[in-house]
């Protein structure tokens, strides 16, 4: 079937199989940051945005993205780098495998939450699993990053 969509701002037209998951499709277009972690809509590794909303690309069919704008980490390099510095400062990175999906959801949260408590942050990020760190380092990094984005100090 024919689809037409935008990946990181670039218009793409293709003929795809109707059962292609969006995950496979964006990877075939070179967006290798998008990874398959669990296969059961649980781990958050495959997170990307459709029209600015974070979704699980393993769960959405590519056909559903027809006519929409897709954003992956490849399209948010500057912001990702900025957040990466907060992660490094807290020593929150370990193997790094979960990072792309995690960062996509953090950056979505920064756009969405007008006010935030510790609980709000945890609630928003609970769908991103990380097997290495126990989350505390990441949490400190996210909080510092949010404060910075809301006009606080770096």
């Amino acid at each position: 079937m024919e689809i037409k969509l935008w990946i990181n701002g670039k218009l793409t037209e293709d003929n795809i199989e109707p059962d292609t998951p969006l995950l496979e499709y964006v990877r075939s277009k070179g967006c290798l940051s998008v990874k398959r972690g669990c296969e059961t809509s649980n781990c958050g590794l495959c997170t990307l945005w459709i029209d600015e909303k974070p979704v699980l690309s393993c769960t959405v069919l590519a056909a559903r993205a027809n006519g929409k704008h897709i954003t992956t980490l490849e399209g948010l390099q500057e912001e990702a780098k900025e957040f990466g510095e907060f992660m490094a400062k807290e020593g929150a990175d370990q193997c790094g495998y979960c990072n792309p999906g995690f960062i996509m959801n953090v950056l979505a949260m920064v756009r969405e939450l007008k006010e935030f408590s510790d609980e709000d942050i945890k609630e928003y990020l609970v769908g991103n699993l990380c097997r290495c760190t126990g989350y505390m380092g990441q949490f400190r990094a996210v909080k510092a990053f949010l404060n910075y984005k809301r006009g606080g100090e770096r």
Partner: protein, 263 residues
């Protein structure tokens, strides 16, 4: 694995209904559950073009299109105010934000999953389903109807001034619930509880014996026990039936008490 031969984005409900009569065709919700199954679908029917992704409100009711996502409902300010966050509370622990941005209310409710948090919380409200051919049916009747090839078009919640509360128990955050518990106090002070994940589908238990004619601590405990004794519980990999029964008593009590404190 899910295989799909053909993908049809329909122009009308009539077209969708006709296609859906073939057993090898299926209407797509958010594909959260469908993609975990081994299914060979000939035609996948997508309702995305029909404008059913909106929550509308007038003085009497909320109307929620079947393609509205769970996250849209969770974020709807008016629904949260009306339900004192009970709907939101029944949604916020379902996997994660990204998952709730994918899956649709139509898919969730049509499927009538035993583990469904949202089926439980919607049963606490005066909720109806609008079926394309079957018309408007109270949700508590729809729950027990056999699966057919009709299309769930909208969810309707009538505003009648009742108070509702919701709670659930999970072994781990974001996992399926072990028990779900909704409590309603209607405007004329009638009380009922809704218990799901027993692991059967959510079911309404009314206070037929008027135990809560007077809201005392003792009567609340009696009612909680009455609810747990009037339901069937069973075991699965998450918990035993006996454990669920005990949890039900505790959760009905807590949820009802909290609801009354919020007066």
């Amino acid at each position: 694995m899910l295989t799909i031969k053909e993908y049809v984005s329909v122009e009308s409900l009539e077209e969708a209904y006709k296609l859906n009569q073939n057993v090898n065709n299926v209407i797509l919700g958010g594909t959260g559950w469908l993609k975990l199954q081994n299914r060979n679908i000939v035609k996948a029917i997508d309702l995305s073009k029909l404008g059913l992704d909106k929550i509308e409100e007038d003085e009497e009711k909320y109307t929620i299109g079947c393609m509205v996502t769970l996250r849209d409902i969770e974020k709807n300010v008016s629904l949260n105010e009306y339900t004192n966050n009970a709907l939101k509370n029944s949604l916020k622990d379902i996997v994660g934000v990204q998952f709730r941005n994918c899956v649709t209310i139509g898919g969730s409710i049509y499927s009538r999953f035993g583990f469904s948090d949202i089926l439980t919380s919607l049963l606490t409200l005066d909720t109806y389903v609008e079926m394309y051919k079957g018309g408007i049916i109270p949700l508590k009747d729809f729950v027990n109807m056999p699966y057919d090839k009709d299309i769930l078009v909208r969810i309707i919640i009538k505003k009648d001034g009742r108070k509702v509360g919701y709670s659930a128990f999970r072994n781990q955050a974001t996992n399926f619930p072990v028990i779900t518990c909704g409590v309603t106090i209607t405007e004329n002070k009638k009380v009922y509880a809704v218990i799901g994940a027993r692991p059967y589908k959510a079911k309404v238990v009314e206070d037929n014996e008027n135990i809560l004619g007077e809201f005392s601590e003792e009567n609340i405990e009696k009612f909680a026990k009455y609810v747990s004794e009037n339901l069937k519980f069973d075991s699965n990999m998450r918990a035993s039936g006996e454990y669920r029964k005990r949890l039900t008593e505790v959760f009905v009590k807590r949820t009802l008490k909290k609801l009354m404190e919020e007066k």
